[in-house]
Symmetry: C2
Subunit: 413 residues, 2 copies
Amino acid sequence: MSSLIIQCKKLRDAAKVLGIADTKTKNKALANVAKRLRIHQEYIMQENEKDVFNARKAGIKESLIDRLRLDENRIEDMIQGIQKIIDLRDPIWNSDRVWTLENGLTISKMTVPLGVIGIIYESRPNVTIDAFALALKSGNCILLRGSSTSIHSNRALVYAVKEGLKESGLPEEIIGFIDDVDRSVVMEMLTLNEYIDLIIPRGGKELIQFVIENATVPTIETGVGNCHIYIDERANLKKALRIVENAKIQRPGVCNACETILIHEQVASEFLPQLYKQFDGIVDIMGCEKTRGIITVKTAEEQDWMEEYLDYKVAIKVVQNIQEAILHIDRYGTKHSEAIVTESLENANLFLRQIDAAAVYVNASTRFTDGGQFGFGAEMGISTQKIHARGPIGLEELVTSKYTIMGNGQIRE
Amino acid sequence: MSSLIIQCKKLRDAAKVLGIADTKTKNKALANVAKRLRIHQEYIMQENEKDVFNARKAGIKESLIDRLRLDENRIEDMIQGIQKIIDLRDPIWNSDRVWTLENGLTISKMTVPLGVIGIIYESRPNVTIDAFALALKSGNCILLRGSSTSIHSNRALVYAVKEGLKESGLPEEIIGFIDDVDRSVVMEMLTLNEYIDLIIPRGGKELIQFVIENATVPTIETGVGNCHIYIDERANLKKALRIVENAKIQRPGVCNACETILIHEQVASEFLPQLYKQFDGIVDIMGCEKTRGIITVKTAEEQDWMEEYLDYKVAIKVVQNIQEAILHIDRYGTKHSEAIVTESLENANLFLRQIDAAAVYVNASTRFTDGGQFGFGAEMGISTQKIHARGPIGLEELVTSKYTIMGNGQIRE
């Protein structure tokens, strides 16, 4: 029996205890973990320093090292994140569907935990705490597989979590951590259907593709966002400029940032020069032929319509009408977040109905697709698939259901 | 480009039309299909006769041939099934979660179709019509892959469906049929993530395992049911006898039939002789040592606790208490349907909370786990996995969601 299976068996056993724990117990455990993060703050920062040192030695670029670093403020943010999750409603053992059959059987569709959730992540160490806290509150055990870059930080965080759990009367095996940088362990993890109920990959395209291709455990695809903003013929161009600027510049490296702007030809000659002025020296513009007839920018190639730049770079296309915009999004979009800027009710409705994406906006920045912004407290990632959960994965998405049926001797005729 | 991909592209295009069709149009199309089934009844029966002839020639046993056969009554049942689905509420573009953020953005979680659903089935030809009708009403296109045994019947049914669609103003490409008995086509189907949003295998264990192992398209596992009934110390034994008899005998070949009976040792000596009398000459009993101390039956081996007999056969185990019953179910159950017979509120609640299954019963037969019985009209199968849908898969389970966000120029600070 592999060491991963031994660990998974413990998670399964812990899941039975956690799955029926009451809200008070779960919140107390979360509070204890928060307390332990504060107590062990120095230790966590020391261990994090090792990761930062190694990353610098490996020549990783400063912007990524900055994401990796943990200081007092960031640890305080984690603690505040836990507090938010404590304040959220317990998503377990609720029902919005109870009905009674002619024969007197009463059926309730109750929410119950999934059991054991695996998460494979490349991102910042705070994911370790977010994922654990969301899982615990929703009654799920969590198996973490972080990146080798942050292994010391994650180890220290998991240590603090376990210390917190120990004083809470809940098994410390609620959290599992794969302390092995070998990729073959990930491969094994992806096929442990008996022990893991759901795997969420959170990271780049390559990681997600690897997980989809190799997993037999059910997965939720997250993250890749080639998001569009369509400026309609009937747009308020002042709003459009604010929205586009926000969606592109406020934080370009994230999945809900805007990558392509589509502009109705009737407003292109008025809008594009304003946009050009706004983006000048900040955002690199790749334009279609019609765009290049109005402003002087580089040529957008086929590749530009497909790419998630995650950078100060944007592609612009002038379209004949809303249908061309919808067709473009249908062809190149990744079903993440799409927006229309318009004052026309008809066009707003058309866009809302016809665009197939996790989040569709009218007159707002795509940057709002986020568990925190949506009011979910935190998120496990943003699902871009249609099964089980779509959009930000918060507490309410980390459950499954169980039909409970109350009878008095009913049999089937 | 393979012929399957060509067909899938047509399904994808049809899904765009169907996805935004109104309820009236969808119901009219279903009514037209029902009408066509009646018009083409003779043709369908003729084609079915070929399948029956081939099955008999291949030496398939009569009980299976009976499942394959279509007569006037069975075609009438299909038509009634469509009528039931017409009468159900349209599951699309509804919301039970609408909220407004501090900044004024209003978020609605709307139900939308999945898109294209694939179904791989070994069962009776009526699944062809059930699956199509459920898919259409929920705005989804359907790609059918039936068994070679029923290929002539399925072809004829799909012909009638297409005739019905033609007079409805909806594309006939809403329904796709894999008219190829080669298994390699199934293999291809399982990896067409770009074209298929969900695959539901409906059939035996082997088929389901094959699909789970090979699919990159998200799947919903269905069907295998090793269901238990636990007769508690506090059971009303009269009720218990009725329930056990119904769950075992009423239709033993289905997934919600009872396969193992667990009996509290305090009531075993009273209950077992009654059960023995009831089952004598009808049901073959395999008992544990304690059972064999009370009634004269064959010995239950380890294999008996694991097996889904699907036959007039049952395993019986005497347990010391409810915890032993729960542990047994946890170890051998397939998370389908489990029941307790008890008059104790405490034990009922313990069982409901601790048993991890799609449906958990108190004082009722497990045979009720069924879309029709639950009031869903029909079902695509019964999910025994936890992701997306658990239990009977009806209209409400064939949807995904889309967040629509209405703003007035909001940007993220």
